[in-house]
């Protein structure tokens, strides 16, 4: 009986050794695909990059109208509060929805050339991150002018961007790998995100959640990634920003370890199932 291939790689390495790609090439390829993706997305559109701004702006406007003017949620400076939670939320959720089908949708591409499967996935998240950063900074302009928000707080923005990027990429890797073997994943993600929106303190503060339900945001990894943004305003005023930032890094690291572990178990079966 010959030695079976899959028996020999059980628990195989979960590294970038697949397709023998150096980390420098990985970054270079992901960046080239990110630029191409940005170029492709808006090439034949009339308003081009305006669409990037328009969609979150409309969501922001509608939610500010509903929760600030109609429901009158008891939060100081609510427009800023909502902005700092909603824009990172949109980045995470849109990335998860777009990338869950990444491996299955790009099956032909992945099988045609020796492209590391993480490269298109990374490019997708990086593309969303660039859009997110631009939207965030553009929307912050009126906030800085019209409110008491201290522009100097934006200096720590890159520190909050890293865990949200790593955490979102890890979740995307996990879900897109899962989707190769369980095609229901795409549909589950689609309806779960709308439920998660109400369970995550994005448009309401954590402080109004009754004591009995405080565990709900406590077990929500997405909330941990968003929380540093929520407290950007008070980053230099001895608030809990730094503690929440540390928690965000820990959550991102945990998600990364989980995603890489699952990827390592499944990567050899990937090409046969996409």
């Amino acid at each position: 009986m010959p030695r079976l291939y899959f028996a020999s790689i059980k628990g195989g390495k979960a590294t970038m050794s697949l397709l023998h790609l150096s980390q420098r090439s990985f970054v270079s390829q992901a960046w080239a695909l990110t630029l191409a993706s940005l170029k492709t997305r808006y090439r034949n559109t009339v308003s081009g990059f305006l669409w990037v701004l328009l969609s979150p702006l409309l969501q922001y406007g509608a939610q500010a109208y509903a929760f600030y003017f109609i429901l009158k949620l008891p939060v100081d400076n609510y427009p800023v509060f909502l902005l700092l939670g909603l824009i990172p939320w949109i980045f995470i959720i849109s990335s998860l929805e777009m990338s869950t089908g990444s491996f299955t949708n790009q099956g032909r591409l992945l099988k045609s050339f020796p492209i590391h499967p993480w490269v298109p996935l990374m490019a997708q998240i990086a593309d969303n991150l660039i859009n997110f950063a631009v939207v965030f900074l553009v929307l912050m302009i009126p906030v800085i002018i019209l409110t008491s928000f201290q522009a100097i707080s934006l200096l720590v923005l890159p520190l909050a961007l890293l865990p949200i990027f790593v955490g979102t990429f890890s979740l995307s890797l996990l879900l897109s790998t899962l989707n190769v073997f369980f095609r229901d994943t795409r549909f589950i993600v689609s309806f779960s995100t709308s439920i998660l929106f109400f369970l995550t303190p994005v448009f309401y503060p954590e402080s109004i959640i009754p004591e009995d339900f405080r565990w709900v945001p406590a077990v929500n990894p997405v909330y941990y990634l968003i929380r540093p943004f929520r407290e950007l305003e008070t980053a230099f005023e001895g608030s809990q920003f730094w503690i929440h930032l540390g928690e965000a890094y820990l959550v991102a690291l945990g998600l990364m370890i989980w995603a890489i572990w699952y990827w390592g178990r499944k990567k050899n079966e990937l090409y046969f199932n996409i």
Partner: protein
């Protein structure tokens, strides 16, 4: 082994086995299911997944200067073998050993972003095919010129015919020598004239350095391009020898009986 001068070993494959568990969707009737359940109740209840043993204990090596034609009927494991060599799968230490760099292409009608122009897709393709090349701009310019696509280079890749797409990809993949080049049924879309042109270019590249694995369903083309032939049948290596002997053997393969040979024994050409 063939009689060509053997120098540096570029690829060494030892006891390569590839097993997949395919998903099957059968439209069994209730009667069929009942029969299977009564024949073997344990197996029916446990539903052990079907196993597909794609490559069976393959062992061979390829040396510098060898142009190896890989022949076999559909589904015998040619592409799986090439993917294993190209690094798509990780079979474990010392099972597939490559000395140097592998460049592989499995579909020449694939644009990375079909919405982008041929030129833009070529730039992206070059990023993936030549990650370590310094003069990439020069390489792309030369490959685009060789493709003879002229003004079409600045039109969307999605509007190209299969032949035009193949021209672009093949021009790029053969732009620089590499240690091991894998071409899996890549000439299928290209027109006859370009096939000859690209064959000459690939031959020139091989003479400069490295080796090639050339997968094709056209034994005459393999005979013309290659100096060694491997034939796979049902996941096993059944022939390793000269192109002329391989050509004769392949012609005798009987597709009706899943690639059984007519009157020839295993490894007859070695």
């Amino acid at each position: 082994m063939n009689s060509t001068s053997i120098s540096k070993v570029i690829l060494e494959v030892k006891k390569l086995n590839l097993v997949f568990y395919p998903q099957t969707y059968r439209n069994d009737s209730l009667r069929d299911q009942f029969v299977r359940a009564t024949q073997n109740p344990l197996k029916f209840l446990l539903k052990e997944p079907e196993r597909l043993h794609v490559l069976k204990n393959l062992e061979f090596s390829i040396s510098q200067g060898e142009r190896v034609g890989l022949l076999g009927l559909n589904g015998v494991g040619k592409t799986s073998l090439c993917r294993a060599i190209a690094g798509f799968y990780n079979p474990g230490p010392n099972i597939v050993k490559v000395e140097g760099k592998v460049r592989a292409i499995f579909d020449t009608t694939m644009g990375i972003y079909p919405e982008l122009t041929g030129r833009e897709n070529a730039e992206l393709l070059a990023e993936f095919m030549y990650p370590d090349v310094v003069d990439r701009a020069e390489l792309i310019a030369e490959a685009l010129e060789f493709s003879e696509l002229g003004p079409f280079l600045d039109t969307p890749f999605k509007n190209y015919s299969n032949g035009m797409q193949a021209r672009l990809c093949l021009s790029l993949v053969s732009a620089r020598p590499t240690d091991l080049l894998i071409l899996d049924e890549v000439f299928e879309g290209a027109d006859l004239f370009f096939k000859q042109t690209i064959s000459q270019r690939v031959l020139k590249m091989i003479h400069e350095s490295g080796a090639v694995i050339f997968v094709s369903h056209d034994p005459a083309q393999v005979k013309e391009v290659c100096n060694r032939v491997l034939i796979l049948n049902q996941g096993e290596l059944v022939f390793d020898g000269s192109p002329s002997a391989g050509y004769e053997l392949y012609k005798k393969m009987d597709p009706q009986s899943a690639g059984q040979f007519q009157g020839l024994s295993k490894n007859s050409g070695s």
